[in-house]
Amino acid sequence: MRRSVLLPSLGSLCLAAALAFAPGCSGSNQDEDGKIVLEFWTIALGDAFADYINGMIADYEAQNPGIRVEWVDVSGGEVAEKFIAALVAGDPPDLANVYDLPRFLEYDVLSNLDSLVTDEERDRFLPGFWRGMGQYHGANYAIPFYASVNMMWYNKEIFAAAGLDPERPPTTMTEMLKMGRIIHERTGKYGVSWRLHPSLVGPPWVLLRQEGIWPLFNEDRSRTTINNPQALELFESWIDAYKHGAIPPEALAAASRDEVNWFIEGRAAMLPFSGGWITRYFDKSFEGKVGMTSHPRGALGLVPGTSQVLVVPRMSPHREEAVDFGLFVTSPRYQLEFCSYVAILPTTKEAAADPFFSQPPRNISDEANQISAADLPNSFVAAPPDTKSWSRMEDILYEEFAKAMGGQQSAQEALTRVERKWNHLLRFTAL
């Protein structure tokens, strides 16, 4: 009888102990040999790049015998949430590839790299990318890992069916929307594969920036300047394009990567998007239909680009070592090696100037990457404004723009409402 009472109770205690101590079981900061342990997170590189990452880590450990690097590969959809959870648990990685930076920048949980990186090391990077995704109030909080610059994918078959010359894709944003309308009128297909909801590239605020309608706030970030005639003209052109079928109706309620799917499914003729990595979703027959060119220009004359970044949490006990490893990972040699495995672009000057990017392409992915690479000097990093509550502001912009596209209000009403709501938020989150 005694046994029957004790066993369940003991089981409960064990379970409680396991639950209570589970979060604290992750690695310590030094191993049994006294080496510093750096935890390094990447996003969805998996087995495909394991040799590359492990080789790089082995090289670094050989050069730095007092350091051991633990590599953790996190799946893409969860990295921001896992990073938050690790920060809250007080056990974050020392160096991590994360996205959705504005909220981390806003809450001051990342190390300011300007004080941890020398001028010489900083000068290695393409300037736009060093002061890019991780810029917040004049300081930089992220090491640019690798880059992508937008280009234009288009379906030659749909172009031909619409009576357009498949060898003459659009060169400006205005021309792209105009061709989109023609394509819809003549083929029933949609012109431009674009979605309004937060997308990897090309959200409304990037469209504004491409047209030179930037910055969106006054100098002390107390008021927005978005409600102006140029922004109105841009909004009206996109609303008009939407209403005339240049953009799929689902653009207002689409989710992640839908725009890529619509293009590959042959629903839409043009995809202004990033480089060669999407070719992994093409089959042979689709590759034969695809045309590639540089991204259409807006008034600014520049092309949007973006970069994956490495960050060092402020609470990492080995920030200097983590930054040193981050600079090693992004050194020209390893960037070039990474670029030879996958269609990405480097963020350092030396790697970007390498003849690798002008060699004859081995496949469609290389070809796309070279088109992107050619525009590296003509690109701007599509980093969101470093304003508090930007996530909310971005959603307000989408909502009001969507209402205008859906015919619920005019473009001017949308801009006026965005201005009012943004100013309200700015008042309450005054710096």
Partner: protein, 314 residues
């Protein structure tokens, strides 16, 4: 009363239920109390919580978007729950038949329940596309279908429009086509689950009752109306309560299919809480809205219980 029973014997049942209680306390009571505590604070995860009393609740009551999302959620439940009760009951009647190969039908009908909402959501998105399969079928009948997940016209207005009546009144603007389309997916996915509950109820009805009714000359419909439906009333109560709770907590369909768009017309409370907590990191406010959702669920569970006669024994 327990004086004569030794302590060990009295303690035994508590020891047996201790693991269950511990799990309940860890995964239900503690999170609930913690949510309540968080709801009284302004908390962004990264910095220590700041006490704000009932401010988060006041903020919710003054938050235009909270009310819009709550209205969406109620409208959604109003579409989904009655449909689930009716559809799953009809499905249960069909698969209760004693015909050859009926088990294959039961299994086939159950497939949506075990299908991941991500997979189902993506498949339905393809079907719902403006140039998807549904609209291709409609085109065969000469009907131009809408863009199901992006169309914010009211279903009644669209139907009246279809038969040639132009309406402008706001009365016909809800529910919108996008929300009704999302609701359809929930109904498709959840009805086989409730079908199984009804099936258990149908198989518990004594066959003599139906036989006696048949002898007295009752047809199929009269048997269903006067014997089957009253006999499975407790099951209807269970189905309506679980379906209501499920509908009010719907998240996956919105997350996968619409992200709450277009312009929040398909945004439901669970998705709004997720956005507040994980996107805006307004954890205190998200906790307050979660508690308001809990109250809403409790209120509707009690209403269901009363309406369906769950307290009839009293």
């Amino acid at each position: 009363m327990n004086k004569g029973i030794p302590f060990r014997q009295r303690a035994t049942p508590y020891a047996f239920i201790a693991p269950g209680l511990l799990l309940l306390a860890t995964f239900f009571t503690y999170p609930l109390l913690d949510t309540f505590w968080l709801s009284l604070h302004r908390y962004n995860i990264f910095h220590p919580p700041v006490w704000v009393g009932l401010d988060n609740f006041r903020r919710a009551f003054g938050d235009e978007l909270f009310w819009r999302v709550t209205a969406n959620t109620l409208l959604y439940a109003a579409m989904v729950v009655p449909a689930l009760v009716v559809v799953s009951f009809i499905l249960a009647l069909l698969v209760n038949a004693t015909i050859r190969g009926i088990r294959i039908f039961r299994t086939a009908y159950y497939i949506p329940v075990v299908t991941s909402i991500v997979v189902a959501g993506i498949a339905w998105k393809w079907l719902y596309n403006s140039d998807g399969l549904i609209n291709a079928l409609l085109r065969g009948f000469g009907i131009a279908g809408p863009s199901w997940l992006a169309d914010t016209r009211g279903v009644p207005a669209a139907l009246l429009n279809f038969i040639g009546l132009e309406v402008t009144s706001g009365w016909f603007s809800e529910p919108c086509i996008a929300l009704a389309s999302v609701a359809m997916v929930t109904i498709w996915k959840a009805s086989p689950y409730y079908m199984i509950i009804y099936l258990a109820g149908l198989q518990g009805i004594p066959p003599q009752l139906e036989e006696a009714a048949r002898v007295d000359g009752a047809g199929w419909w009269r048997i269903v109306r006067h014997i089957t439906i009253p006999s499975i009333q407790p099951y209807t109560l269970v189905v309506s309560i679980i379906a209501t709770i499920g509908a009010l907590r719907t998240f996956g369909e919105v997350y996968v299919m619409t992200s709450g768009g277009p312009f929040h017309r398909t945004n439901l409370l669970a998705y709004y809480i997720y956005t507040l907590g994980f996107k805006y990191l307004e954890v205190g406010y998200a906790a307050a809205v979660s508690l308001l959702l809990l109250v809403l669920i409790l209120v509707f569970a009690i209403i269901n219980f009363r309406v369906a006669g769950g307290d009839a024994d009293k």
